[in-house]
Symmetry: C2
Amino acid sequence: MKEGKGKRLFINEVATRDGFQMESRFIPTDDKIALVDRLGTLGYAKIEVTSFTSAKAIPALRDGEEVMQRIVRQPGVVYTALVPNLRGAERALESRIGEFNVVMSVSETHNLSNLRMTREQSFAQLAEVIALARQAGVPVNVSLSCVFGCPMEGEVPLAGVLEWIDRFAALQVQGVTLCDTTGMAFPTQVQALCEAVMARHPGLQWTAHFHNTRGMGLANVLAAVEAGIERLDMSLGGIGGCPYAPGATGNVATEDVVHMLQCMGYDTGMDLNGLIDAASELEALVQHDLPSQVPRAGHRLTRHAPPADFNDIAARAHARRAKELNP
Amino acid sequence: MKEGKGKRLFINEVATRDGFQMESRFIPTDDKIALVDRLGTLGYAKIEVTSFTSAKAIPALRDGEEVMQRIVRQPGVVYTALVPNLRGAERALESRIGEFNVVMSVSETHNLSNLRMTREQSFAQLAEVIALARQAGVPVNVSLSCVFGCPMEGEVPLAGVLEWIDRFAALQVQGVTLCDTTGMAFPTQVQALCEAVMARHPGLQWTAHFHNTRGMGLANVLAAVEAGIERLDMSLGGIGGCPYAPGATGNVATEDVVHMLQCMGYDTGMDLNGLIDAASELEALVQHDLPSQVPRAGHRLTRHAPPADFNDIAARAHARRAKELNP
């Protein structure tokens, strides 16, 4: 385990997109905007604000344009959104988007199940979106789902993952996110894959995205960081689920990951107390308990009061001790 | 992150002691015995069966003698129990205990709050217990609470931790467990402390015991294992709480830790499917959801079925693709 030694890491928030799209309750537009505005002041490198998917496909995010238009943008923070196709790209550009996040899966079965297209169809569609982004001078990040395994196909061969990365790199995208879409990644696998892709495309901006579905989320974050990954997706409160594992938790929780990284001496640039307060606001919005743990337990050095009768306990113990020493 | 490469690790189960003592429902004696008997076949190195504390102090474990007497002991498994004092030691010896687990805290405030004695009083009492165990030829393990921090005092100085270890080593105990009693440990701290104590007392049998209170439990397990720790305490289902952080999770969950270690290539000797089945039995006994995640999500390679209309989706996508290629 490497000491952080002040190494700078860059934190991306996905709760308002990856999280809210899974919530049963529609989060009111004003509340979404207020949350993004609050998050914007907490030190994030990037916030995935919304998705320009069709309102029919993801009704929870049907207010993408309005949210994107009305948020207060902080200097230094990239406000990104998911852009699935040309229609979405046009909406995104009208909304003054800071980056396009395009998504496809390296698993054919997952891509068909989730996006209703073959991977080739997704790639062709995203290539058009990427061309439009280049024309508009907007950077593009590709989020590749299932690179650590597919819940339907099982193991995903490394060669295939590398091939899709090569094809997107050839389109001159700025960054690639390695997504553990359903929490199948484990630490040594994470380190090996991250090292392999970074060595192959050192010029790309690499991000890792983990789910805590099987409890390994924070260990996987450390494995990615040890491999040299500097950018991490995470979700406030740990919201955002995984449809293939009912009851399992979703994204790694921002406040839990930031707490750990700060304890280890990494410079995340984040305001942890601000995150804990924001998680409390988020809990009120989604109206259910959050999976994250640091808001409940506090920072590791949060002091708890001794029992109410501590002074009596101590006095009795010391009196017994005195008697033992001088019987 | 080190590959496991078949390295043997030894797993200790604490659910029936550390877990059950926190449950509001009294677990019937027959059920306790049945669970220990089931766990005995799953590959554990050690099972902490019960506690020989007074029935008044921990009513949940008032049936310690009966449980210890009636369990079926598997060869190769150490059946241990918590032994707080001479009265408990006598009960434990009558119950044919395989090891004494004695406990004190390296934090004065925590020891007073939890055990109502100063650390010196605890040490004096445990020294008597250890002497009795030596006479009886029973090995002793010392579980030291709060070695990674105290919820009331904050940081615990390393010098103090080492001094208590030295004093127990001088009494010729067989092993020491480094307990992260309230989930304050973080990975680089774990590695540093484990390396320091193992270098100082290479002849002691070292165990690490983590709580997942702030989500770092599995990362801490890896840090300990990287430092050379081969023995780990964990709790089926992740039961067993922490009174100083209400709502926070307790011990790291056996099935989640074993799943991760197996994915990474360690030899835990454990039957993971058997653990998942046992967790389901445990959930019925404690009558509440368990914090562990692998029983819900399954092994990382558990295959999930594609959507019911997958064949239609695929057929439509392929038809569109054919049309695109030959318009």
